[in-house]
């Protein structure tokens, strides 16, 4: 496989190395290394890379005389702190999901189900899509869901179009790391899942109102101020929920919850939502989650200088809030996770280990991932003596998950001291 070719196609498609990395389930440094020819991709990554290249490099075959529809695509939002993914079928349908940038610090997430099926509904879908695009283009600030629903209702009433939709606005909170204000409403769609944690829970994501168009007094909106990362919003239209729930929307929601629980690397939508049950209605599923980190890097297990540099960053950033001793312990847990990856993921020789780190409002989070051998038994690994026992001693919480690109992701969380902690006398609460 030609590294120059990969770079050329990636640039032609307007993808950053980070974006391609997300598609392939690897980090940006890995893509950089592959393109520079200094990293040989692992077998699973190689397979995904081949698939992607084939898909992107080969023009879609077209039979003579075939007319291709051109459905306007929403300009993809370019907000580096959010990861948006959507999946749906058929290609031309009344269901769609989109993410619109609203300035630099906010985004509007929409999932729409225009009444009707397949190509019959395309004109109405195109109209709604274009209306939303124009609405966002006119905005001079963060939109209010009630106003959006009201304005769209007026237009739909005139056009006699029925729409079920979910709208959510997330806007970063200045001065509070990795925190957003969230406002959402669901109009005729089952309330999406808003997964957050820890503690892991599914929060009320939206008030469910009647489908659009509706009267202004029927609009109800859910607001969450100060929603801290991590969170993941999972929305789906009724066709998909009914299929995966074997006819029951509520069972479909349960299926979604079990599949999209808040792990560090959600599975690709198309893999999990393809089932043996035939689809009979238009379907869309979309996810939105916080994706920003204060640090993202990787090192080969034998590269001690790079490992120290990454530990140095963690120490530097966590020390002011945690204090010298706790910051050192957090670094100890990160180092233990690195060593664990070196020992278990790459027993035959050096391999690459990645670190993602961020300071959240009430804690620090580090994710250490590898593309190596993977876990045979997650529960056994998490409760094992040895390396994980050390991590558990140093951190409030430790999780091990399968990495999306193969291998393992270890998540380490350590809480910042609260004001009450700081007021305790020497020796602790009883000291």
């Amino acid at each position: 496989m030609d590294a120059v070719e990969i770079t050329r196609i990636r640039r032609e498609k307007g993808l950053s190395q980070v974006a391609l990395g997300r598609i392939l389930g690897v980090s940006q440094p890995t893509i950089s290394g592959i393109e520079r020819g200094v990293i040989a991709p692992s077998a699973p990554v190689l397979a995904r890379l081949r698939q992607w290249l084939e898909r992107e490099a080969t023009p879609a075959p077209r039979s003579p005389g075939e007319v291709a529809f051109l459905v306007p695509q929403n300009a993809p939002a370019t907000l580096p702190f959010l990861r948006f993914e959507s999946w749906g079928r058929p290609e031309y349908s009344g269901d769609f999901a989109a993410l619109f940038s609203v300035g630099k610090n906010a985004a509007l997430f929409v999932v729409v189900d225009v009444a009707g099926h397949g190509t019959d509904v395309l004109p109405a879908r195109t109209f709604v899509q274009g209306w939303l695009q124009a609405y966002v283009g006119r905005l001079r600030g963060v939109p209010r869901i009630s106003e959006l629903a009201g304005d769209l209702s007026a237009t739909l009433r005139d056009g006699r179009i029925d729409v079920s939709a979910f709208f959510a606005v997330v806007a970063t909170v200045p001065g509070t790391p990795h925190t957003v204000n969230y406002e959402a409403g669901s109009f005729g769609l089952a309330a999406p899942l808003l997964l957050s944690g820890p503690p892991f829970r599914t929060r009320p994501s939206a008030e469910v109102c009647p489908a659009l168009p509706l009267e202004p007094e029927e609009v109800r909106v859910t607001v969450i101020d100060g929603l801290e990362a991590p969170w993941r919003l999972v929305a789906a239209t009724d066709g998909l929920l009914q299929r995966i729930g074997a006819g029951s929307e509520s069972d479909g929601v349960k299926q979604l919850r079990s599949r999209f629980s808040l792990g560090p690397s959600p599975p690709p939508l198309e893999e999990l939502l393809s089932t043996e049950i035939p689809w009979i209605d238009d379907e869309v599923c979309a996810t939105l989650e916080w994706a920003a980190w204060d640090f993202e890097g990787s090192a080969v297990t034998a590269d001690e200088a790079e490992t120290r540099r990454m530990l140095g960053f963690v120490r530097l950033r966590s020390r002011p809030a945690l204090g010298e001793a706790k910051a050192e312990e957090f670094c100890g847990a990160v180092l233990e996770a690195f060593q664990n990856a070196g020992r278990h993921a790459y027993p035959k020789g050096p391999g690459r280990v990645s670190l993602r780190f961020r300071e959240e409002a009430s804690r620090f989070r580090a994710e250490i991932s590898d593309n190596g051998a993977g876990m045979s038994d997650r529960r056994k690994v998490q409760t094992s003596e040895g390396g994980f026992a050390v991590m558990r001693t140093f951190c409030k919480e430790v999780f091990a998950d399968e990495n999306r690109g193969g291998g393992t992701v270890v998540t380490l969380l350590i809480d910042k001291p609260t004001q009450n902690d700081q007021k305790l006398p020497e020796g602790g609460p009883h000291g």
């Binding site: 100890g332 233990e336 003596e385 390396g387 140093f394």
Partner: protein, 112 residues
């Protein structure tokens, strides 16, 4: 790459394993383990110098525990110099705090 430790032999009887300052980032290999266990075979008193080391991963502490077990079986002496809080807590997590002997200085660690 720098060696994670340097062995100082003080005659035929004593040896000190000086670990590098800062965090111990090297992956412990079988060659490291063989060398360290060999040191127990060839010397009567051994000190592990962690006086400038801030973080020690579990794999290295378990290697030192194996040295201690071998030394104990042969009636020899092994102790650790350096009591950094994070290292002691690592030993606690591994349930090795009690079995290993911890000292403040190398001199104290070499003393039977």
């Amino acid at each position: 790459m720098d060696d994670p430790y340097r062995i100082e032999r003080l005659g035929n009887e004593c040896a000190v394993v000086h670990f590098a300052p800062g965090e111990l980032t090297a992956i412990r290999s079988q060659a490291h383990l063989d060398e360290l266990l060999g040191l127990v075979d060839s010397h009567g008193r051994i000190a592990i110098d962690f006086t400038r080391t801030t973080l020690v991963p579990s794999d290295w502490l378990r290697a030192i525990e194996r040295m201690r077990v071998r030394a104990g079986a042969a009636g020899k002496h092994l102790a650790i110099a350096g009591k950094t809080a994070a290292i002691l807590k690592t030993a606690d997590a591994l349930k090795l705090r009690e079995s290993l002997r911890w000292c403040d200085t190398i001199e104290e660690a070499l003393r039977p």
